[in-house]
């Protein structure tokens, strides 16, 4: 608020300054209204920022962040010398790519099906597939466990004996987890993802479809020549925005659903779980902060680039 006043500068003419002062006075209560929220953001988001310095320090609990000596990029060199940096980067990006591609394909498909349906059940379908979105990841991990538990799980006790397949110790077998985690992610998120596509499709002019139908275009033809091309900008936006977040992972999914099984770490550890484990389990704050800085910095570049591209294509869809 004071920045605006400074911008006016010494050269600004008096009446203008007076006007500004009057406006500030008029809006004074509005500034007071903004204050609690801004204070919260200050505490929650801005105050921690200087703590990023920790990534460049040799941390000792006794001396605190500012008393600890600077060690330059040593924490980063340590992080990138180990296998960890490669594994967490690969997993974070790999899973996100799989999520992005499958989510787009499935969410668009479901949205198109729902939009073309005539039954009044479609509202019910939409509500039911959105339901998993409302469950916490802790609960989801219990649901998954009910199916995958080695001794009592539904797969090992009911499905596999019926099919004559040997039992699988799911929580000890890394090779299955990429599929399980992708499935769980899609299962939880598909209802949410298709909402935007569905509302976009419902906004299309129905006359185009009627005209196409009169011209004898089949349903599939209508979908491929009308719906999909019209939906393209939305799809591109959603994908670009998701790519902007590709360095972030759903902590709950990767931490809770595998039930923290150590054997599974090579395929379940992402940057977020690595940072958490560094803080809460390994008690290795500098390495953890270094990984956090790595994530924030690359993440920031990716968000900015994605947004830049979105802006080029469609200004209104850009974040800013």
């Amino acid at each position: 608020m004071s920045a605006k006043m400074k911008n006016a500068g010494p050269a600004a003419v008096r009446p203008q300054q007076k006007k500004l002062a009057k406006r500030i006075k008029r809006f004074f209560p509005v500034y007071i209204m903004a204050l609690p929220g801004l204070t919260y953001l200050f505490i929650n988001n801005y105050m921690p920022l200087p703590g990023l310095a920790l990534a460049f320090k040799k941390y000792s609990t006794k001396k605190g962040i500012w008393g600890s000596p600077w060690i330059g990029l040593k924490n980063f060199r340590y992080l990138f010398r180990t296998q960890d940096a490669w594994i967490i980067t690969r997993n974070t990006i790999g899973y996100n790519l799989a999520f992005i591609i499958l989510t787009v394909v499935l969410a668009v498909a479901v949205a198109i099906i729902l939009s073309e349906m005539t039954t009044k059940w479609k509202k019910v379908y939409q509500s039911v597939i959105l339901l998993p979105h409302f469950l916490s990841m802790v609960i989801v991990s219990y649901l998954v466990y009910a199916f995958l538990s080695a001794e009592h799980g539904y797969f090992n006790c009911v499905i596999f004996p019926a099919l004559g397949i040997k039992e699988i110790a799911w929580y000890n077998e890394p090779k299955y987890w990429p599929f399980i985690l992708v499935f769980v992610h899609i299962w939880k998120g598909i209802g949410y993802s298709c909402i935007i596509y569905l509302s976009t499709i419902l906004g299309f002019d129905r006359e185009i479809y009627e005209a196409a139908a009169i011209d004898g275009a089949s349903k599939l033809k209508q979908i491929s020549t009308i719906t999909l091309p019209l939906l393209r900008p939305t799809i591109i936006m959603m994908v670009l925005l998701a790519i902007g977040r590709i360095f972030y992972s759903d902590f709950g999914l990767f931490y809770q659903v595998p039930q923290r099984s150590g054997i599974l770490l090579p395929v379940t550890q992402t940057i977020d779980t690595y940072v958490y484990r560094g803080l809460l389990e390994r008690n290795d704050m500098p390495a953890s902060t270094a990984a956090g800085v790595y994530q924030s910095a690359v993440g920031f570049i990716l968000v900015m680039s994605a947004n830049l591209i979105v802006r080029r294509i469609d200004k209104d869809s850009a974040l800013f």
């Binding site: 920045a3 605006k4 903004a34 801005y46 920790l54 349906m117 802790v138 809770q256």
Partner: protein
Amino acid sequence: MRNSKEEKRFQIFGNVVMIIMSFLAVAPLILVAIVSLTDNNTLIVNGYRYIPEKWSLAAYEYIFVKNPQIIKAYAISFELTAVGTACSLFLTTLLAYAISRQGLPGRGLITFLVFFTMLFNGGLVPQYINYVNVFHVKDTFFGLLVPNLMMNAFNVMLMKSYFVSSIPSEILEAAYIDGATETQTLIRVVIPLAKPIIATIGLFAGIAYWNDWTNGYIYLAKNFSLYSIQNLLNRIVQQIQYLTQSSDSNAAALLAELPTVSVRMAMSIAGVFPVLIIYPFVQNNFVKGITLGGVKG
């Protein structure tokens, strides 16, 4: 005529796909609900099944009658959700209103300060140090309530865009000319017009608080009496994992003392139950909120 035949086939195909998807969406919840109602010994012998040999309400009896800790955790979840949602709505509405006001000097700067938090953050460790060393939230109710959940930039921007698009600034000007103070304008003019978005944001915040387990996990190190139902569920998984991997000779005995499988499943059903109850009433609002956010984030 070819079209109507094709149309019929498409409708059948659509219904089949959606029925399968709907079934997949709820099947795990149904299994867990049934497991929670199954006799524990039957579970150990037969495994988890959709049609159990022997039903039992023992797990729920254990939760609601025998174990005060679970009731306590449940109460904390409700308390946290109520207080958190109220705080969240208070902060979000006021800030969103401020940055929606045209002609407010410094509006661009304030909006940027809000928006920047969506682009860059310090990450977990600096935030943890800040909350623990400066604000001493460790092992207090504030540890559950304050970090990250109380307000977020996305909700503020969502509400702001609703204010801008749905409440004409002429109305606000008119109120000003009629001599209404800003507070009066907000309470008498803006809030009544903004009920739908307030409901949506309240819902977002409420669900986030009810489902959160991370704050309790990070900030409650010793004070387990503040555990919410999610934290309690989380802790049980943690203990089982720890005990099954440890070589401690007492491990087996300690493991046996933990809640049985049916009790754990009953706890998770209790954890989703309030969500299931309100879901039919709120999901429409939720869909509207997401659509609004998608149009302009």
